[in-house]
């Protein structure tokens, strides 16, 4: 120590860094991040706004022992690997993908360290092929803040078929192994991926999850005849190089409570799915205000979608991890009241429908003209501003019906069920009604 200046050590330990890095990210998110990286690769490979990902694939495998994700989406080069992908923190001069949905550096590292204590990354681009293998325990014990290449082939041409990335993690952390071995976790993860990446799936990207091909879920609204969803299109920052295009669609679809609500889509990624919370304006009824009620099953036909698209992805109203909504975003604040207007319009229509249904039952005139005139249309295909429209003078398909409700002793109803040979109380009611009516000579 003599002669040398004494100093206070502020060097973080690697274990601390790893711990900090993985702490606050949910497992599902970490996997979605990795899928996003693949999709960003696909976007680099097939640039432009008209996405066609035919022939590109992502394969995910996970179980209690191992996680693996591979794609044929172009790979990433050693330059990116050496200087960006594995740096802790994002260098100021980092490259970005147009219309990107991922957050390249952070997402991958976090996922790798979060899942397990050993990982491999293999990537092949059109001119390079490389691999790295990291045993995290060994790496934490060393002093160097760097990883070594396990394989490196430069300046050689590779065919498009060979290009892609493969990431494998094993020696899974116990809590991760436990999760990955749950069938329910795997199924709900497959559903989440399917819901969030639906637009890319519908653009032809193939995603395989534990050997199962994920099909895209349809997001459709009814349109046709005198029926039309409302469409509003707005452009922000029109004069700049990266304008933000916003398209709001609100309308009706089949009655499915689980699918009803707002969908918020940023650069193709669904960040909110079937949302019925305050975030998208539901349950905002308050005093002196004509708000929107809490979601109720009579609104199970409601579908609303907002598409935000911008080549510069930080302009979109998502949080820094691009996984959720940033309600403070200026663009969101400007779009939100427009969404409320359209929600109100649709809700008014659905309330009307509900009243009509009470009165007519299955013979509701609006429902039957809806079924006759309109068909389900993929929301991606609906463009061009238009107001909400419906058939205001629908014809009833049959006579008006009304419901009769009454209670009788269970044992007596059972006696009649047996006597009439029917197996529900409802059927007892209907059959006895018809019998009396016929007895009176009034049925036709």
């Amino acid at each position: 120590m003599t002669g040398e200046a004494k100093h206070i050590n502020a060097m973080p330990t690697k274990a601390f860094f790893v711990d900090m890095l993985v702490r606050d990210i949910p497992t599902e998110r970490a996997i979605l991040d990795l899928v996003d990286n693949c999709i960003d690769g696909a976007k680099r490979l097939r640039p432009g706004s008209d996405e066609n990902f035919d022939g590109l694939w992502v394969k995910i495998h996970l179980d209690g022992d191992r996680f693996e994700i591979s794609d044929n989406c172009g790979g990433f080069d050693t330059e990116t690997a050496m200087n960006y992908a594995f740096r802790f923190g994002r260098p100021a001069d980092a490259k970005s993908t147009d219309y990107s949905i991922g957050q390249f550096g952070v997402g991958m590292k976090r996922a790798l360290f979060k899942f397990g204590r050993y990982f491999e990354v293999h990537s092949t681009t059109s001119y390079e092929k490389w691999a790295m293998k990291v045993d995290v325990d060994e790496w934490e014990h060393g002093t160097d803040w760097q990883f070594e290449f396990a394989e490196l082939i430069e300046d050689k041409a590779f065919t498009a078929d060979e290009c892609g990335t493969r990431i494998m993690v094993n020696k899974l952390r116990p809590e991760i192994a436990n999760k990955f071995s749950s069938e329910y976790f795997r199924r709900s993860l497959a559903e989440t991926i399917r819901a969030h990446q639906r637009q890319f799936l519908s653009s032809g990207l193939a995603i395989e999850f534990n050997g199962q091909h994920l099909t895209h879920t349809d997001l459709r609204v009814l349109s046709g005849g005198s029926y039309s969803p409302v469409v509003e299109e707005i452009t922000f920052d029109r004069e700049t190089e990266a304008p933000v295009l916003v398209r709001i669609i609100a309308g009706i679809s089949e009655s499915k409570p689980a699918d009803a609500g707002w969908y918020i889509v940023c650069n193709g990624r669904v960040i909110l799915s079937a949302d019925r919370s305050e975030a998208t304006g539901w349950n905002s009824v308050s005093e002196q205000k004509d708000g929107i009620p809490k979601f109720h099953n009579q609104y199970a036909r409601f579908r609303g979608i907002v598409f935000f698209d911008c080549s510069s992805s930080q302009k979109l109203p998502w949080n820094t991890t691009k996984t959720g909504l940033d309600e403070a975003s200026a663009i969101w604040q400007s779009v939100f009241p427009k969404m409320l207007d359209h929600t109100r319009t649709i809700i008014k229509f659905l309330n009307r429908l509900d009243e009509e249904f009470e009165e007519y039952g299955k013979n509701s005139p609006t429902l039957s003209t809806l079924a006759k005139e309109a068909s389900a249309l993929d929301v991606e295909k609906i463009r061009g501003a238009r107001p909400f429209a419906w058939n205001m003078n629908p014809k009833a398909p049959g006579p008006k019906l009304t419901k009769i409700q009454y209670s009788r002793e269970v044992a007596k109803i059972r006696t009649l069920m047996e006597a009439l040979g029917v197996n529900s109380a409802k059927a007892v009611g209907e059959t006895t009604f018809d019998m009396i009516l016929s007895e009176q000579g009034e049925d036709e």
């Binding site: 116990p174 809590e175 436990n178 071995s181 749950s182 069938e183 329910y184 976790f185 199924r187 709900s188 497959a190 559903e191 199962q212 499915k256 689980a258 269970v410 044992a411 109803i413 059972r414 109380a425 409802k426």
Partner: protein, 321 residues
């Protein structure tokens, strides 16, 4: 509507009777985990208490709990309680199960009259996430048709994957679920798969906090399907922690002819034979595997069914000469 005990005399359902006897054989082998006298039995005894009585007489279990949800008829249940050792607890299984003492090694048979529904799955999960090693768990459900009764007035007969996912949730829905999995005997298989998945899920959650070596697995032991009236199916097994796997393997459960640890169930067929024919066949039983029965003039199919189940058949055939 009407409680099922008012419609069916449980003791007279022959396939159910055989199932009960086979389960009794299964439970008798649990003594590798601890004396049967120290076990507790938890079941739905109804007003017949057939299960409670059998397991008391055959296994010597005297700590017995019968859960009964027909609160309005409590007096009648109490009146019919045949043993001092049976504690009748009135209430829904979902309310009673979490309050039981799960440190006691138990035999639990949730014998529902209903087809699979969300409430049953919740009960199954409650048991799976609490049971200790050595506890046996059996679940029976009706498997004729599944109904989504969330809207009481308009129950939906669940016939498609969409309806299934809508009712049970996406994470409970197998990716490859086909319409054929929701009808006929295949629905029995689907029901058992669902029950097993739910057990595994409950275990998975509980195991997250258990140290390696003490994680509990469900070792399936039995699977039955039968049709006394409506189709019914049963799946059962033992919760075993990793340290006690050798106990399970050494219990001789695999020697039971009705042992089933995979997707296929033993289908219980009641043989149609007269008392005289039974005595004729009895003299040839147990038959060595290789040699066929001398059945004539009894149809061979019936004779073989008899040979398969004769040890478990009910003895309440009428005694005509």
């Amino acid at each position: 509507m009407t409680a099922s005990y008012e419609l069916i005399d449980y003791s007279l359902r022959p396939a159910k009777f055989a199932e009960r006897k086979m389960l009794c054989d299964f439970f008798s082998r649990l003594r590798v985990f601890g004396s049967l006298e120290s076990y507790r039995y938890v079941g739905f005894g109804s007003i017949w208490f057939s299960d409670c009585i059998l397991f008391h007489r055959a296994l010597g279990i005297s700590d017995i709990i019968s859960i009964e949800c027909e609160i309005d008829h409590q007096k009648r249940f109490e009146f019919n309680n045949p043993l001092r050792g049976i504690k009748l607890i009135m209430g829904e299984a979902s309310d009673v199960l979490p309050t039981l003492d799960w440190d006691i090694r138990s035999i639990i048979w949730l014998d529902y009259d209903d087809p699979l529904n969300l409430g049953i799955l919740e009960d199954v999960r409650t048991v799976a996430s609490r049971a200790r090693s050595g506890t046996a768990f059996v679940v029976s459900v009706q498997s004729e048709k599944i109904f989504d009764k969330r809207d009481q007035e308009n129950p939906v007969h669940v016939q498609s994957k969409d309806e299934f996912a809508d009712y049970f949730g996406a994470n409970r829905t197998p990716e490859a679920l086909a319409q054929s999995d929701l009808r006929g005997w295949t629905l029995s298989k689907t029901s058992r798969q669902m029950l097993r998945s739910e057990i595994n899920e409950g275990l998975n959650l509980a195991n997250a906090a258990r140290p390696a070596g003490q994680r509990i697995e469900f070792r399936q032991t039995v699977a039955f399907e039968y049709k006394d009236g409506a189709k019914m199916t049963t799946v059962g097994g033992v919760f075993v922690d990793q340290g006690q796997n050798a106990h399970f393997d050494g219990a001789g459960l695999r020697d039971l002819e009705f042992f089933r640890d995979d997707e296929e169930a033993l289908r219980i067929h009641m043989p149609l034979v007269t008392p005289h024919e039974m005595r004729h066949l009895d003299r040839q039983l147990p038959a060595p595997v290789s040699s066929g029965l001398n059945a004539d003039p009894i149809p061979l199919k019936e004779a073989n069914r008899y040979a398969k189940f004769y040890r478990y058949l009910p003895n309440f055939a009428s005694f005509e000469r």
